[in-house]
């Protein structure tokens, strides 16, 4: 017995030794625990998913099938299919009057996540700092760390509609700062930033000669006002790496295809890493992406109109049941506050799941300043949203009722 405990601990120790210090220093995603919990329960309504509930539009799936039938199953060039890069260049010219050279300034990646990893590895030397605006998608901070950089997080808050301010960014700048990482429309808050707001960030970037890493995967999901591409701001085209893709706008999460746009030195460096690690994005997905850009507008607009309706439904719903929720104008997340209920978002989410079978994600998973909030995706059917609101309402009532008694 004693011997087996000893050998078990030796094994554990050995296993820990085998994993690098860097990887050990990064905690697993806070979402993981909820994922396991949700899997054990039945009848869970999920507002915990960061992906559309729509299936990929049929014309895009059909083009995947066609590509397979035609025998498109090989590697593509490392940068991605030339037709796809040209199509992307055309889109940015039409939508933002931005010129990107499809041969040197566009890289097709297996989703934005890979692209951001490539960018960090391409620009960071050991110890370089990246300013990351929080709350943010769970991968940003670990990606900086894995690339040998040091993440410096700056908080955003409800008082400023979760927009990152130039002042906070400037306060965080040091001699070692290399880049600013932003994401608008924002996951997890649904916040957007107007052109004027972004220009102030651009001024700071210019002043300190920083690269801006702008994840714009939710750009099409802007319900009020118009999305401004960061590189369209004055002088920013050479200092910005823009990330976008098809997962959210075209409901193509599982197809794993996205792209990065930037000046040729950075895109070239990213391509070098991509070449040695990923080789290329799946050709089937790249073929699908070409069709998505050429023929996808009607379906994208239809989905966006439906998300906008659900946005009204869920945000007004949260405010009605007493969870203050600000009117985010983008992505597909509501970010209601649970302040005043006397529990952390983590406790709330866990009890909500166990007692009412509704899955939401606690806001602190996305950074400390997200604590006291819940991320609720409205990429779920209207019936599910209505039922979830009903259950959350009951749950809140049971807590506030308890408090009074």
């Amino acid at each position: 017995m004693k011997q087996s405990t000893q050998s078990a601990s030796r094994l554990l120790h050995k296993r820990q030794m085998r994993v690098s210090d860097t990887v050990q220093s990064v905690p697993p995603s806070g979402i993981r625990r909820f994922f396991d919990l949700a899997n054990e329960l039945e009848g869970v309504i999920s507002l915990g998913v960061g992906e559309p509930d729509f299936v990929t539009p049929w014309h895009i799936r059909e083009s995947c099938i066609h590509a397979l039938e035609q025998g498109y199953t090989s590697y593509t060039s490392n940068q991605g299919l030339p037709e796809l890069r040209e199509e992307i260049a055309g889109t940015f010219m039409r939508n933002h009057s931005l010129h990107y050279d499809p041969n040197e300034e566009i890289l097709i990646t297996t989703g934005v996540s890979e692209g951001i990893d490539l960018a960090m590895r391409a620009i960071l030397n050991r110890g370089d700092e990246v300013i990351v605006s929080e709350p943010c998608y769970v991968s940003y901070v670990p990606t900086v760390i894995f690339a040998g950089g040091v993440p410096v997080t700056v908080a955003t808050g409800i008082e400023n509609d979760f927009k990152v301010t130039a002042e906070r960014i400037e306060d965080a700048v040091t001699e070692k700062t290399r880049a600013i990482m932003i994401n608008y429309p924002n996951n997890p808050t649904g916040a957007t930033m107007g052109k004027k707001d972004l220009e102030e960030i651009a001024d700071v970037a210019t002043k300190y000669d920083l690269i801006v890493i702008s994840d714009e995967i939710y750009d099409k999901l802007t319900y009020d006002g118009k999305h401004t591409c960061f590189s369209s701001l004055n002088g920013m085209i050479t200092n910005t790496v823009v990330f976008n893709g098809f997962s959210k706008s075209h409901a193509m999460t599982g197809l794993r295809v996205g792209y990065a746009l930037g000046s040729s030195d950075i895109i070239g460096a990213m391509t070098k890493i991509h070449q040695y690690t990923m080789l290329c994005a799946p050709i089937t997905s790249q073929m699908a992406a070409i069709d998505a850009l050429r023929n996808g507008r009607v379906e994208v607009e239809r989905m966006v109109r439906e998300y906008d309706r659900r946005r009204h439904l869920i945000i007004s719903g949260f405010n009605r049941i007493g969870l203050d929720c600000f009117w985010g104008k983008g992505a597909f997340y509501a970010f209601p506050s649970i302040a005043g209920l006397g529990m952390t978002a983590d406790e709330f989410a866990e009890r909500l799941m166990l007692e009412k079978r509704v899955a939401v994600v606690p806001g602190d998973v996305f950074g400390d300043c997200g604590s006291g909030f819940l991320r609720c995706s409205y990429a779920a059917s209207r019936d599910d949203i209505k039922e979830a609101l009903l259950r959350i309402g009951e749950f809140v009532e049971s807590i506030t009722g308890d408090g009074i008694a």
Partner: protein
């Protein structure tokens, strides 16, 4: 998004939806939505709230046929006169003026193939303007008015993903 278009798209996909839910989905007041829907009903933009039924699932259901008609036009009357006349039969579910090698396309519904065939022979083919008819019986409906009848798509998503 234009509020009228928004309301119409919502109602077209879900005619049973109530006013307060449309209000919640659009961020408008109940009154505003009620007024708008009333006006759309009043001016004939909204014609009818329809149900799509898979009659194949019902014993003693219906058979459908598509009828192509060639019409000879009289001076000054045009297609409208004959189309109006045909439209008045309750057996006729739709009447459309077509481009191509025939003029009108009808959808006929009846209790049996025989009844449909006799209806076409007796009531439609005998109209003075009708030159010829071609009847095609519907064997199976896969999709009706945007709704797929023979199967529904089902995909599983993981309950929690970042």
């Amino acid at each position: 998004m234009d509020i009228v278009q928004n309301i119409l798209e919502i109602i077209e996909n879900d005619p049973k939806i109530d006013i307060s839910e449309i209000a919640a989905l659009t961020g408008r007041s109940d009154e505003e939505i009620r007024d708008c829907v009333c006006q759309l009903e009043g001016d004939g933009t909204i014609r009818k709230y329809k149900t799509i039924i898979d009659w194949d699932k019902v014993n003693n259901g219906f058979v459908y046929a598509i009828i192509e008609i060639k019409v000879s036009l009289e001076r000054e009357t045009g297609y409208n006169v004959v189309a109006d006349r045909i439209s008045k039969f309750p057996e006729v579910r739709s009447v459309r003026l077509m481009s191509g090698d025939h003029d009108l396309s009808l959808t006929i519904r009846g209790k049996s193939m025989k009844r449909v065939a006799f209806f076409v022979a007796e009531k439609i083919a005998t109209l003075p303007q009708v030159q010829s008819t071609a009847t095609h019986f519907v064997l199976k409906t896969y999709k009706e008015d945007g709704v797929i009848l023979h199967e529904t798509e089902h995909t599983e998503r993981l309950p929690i993903v970042a």
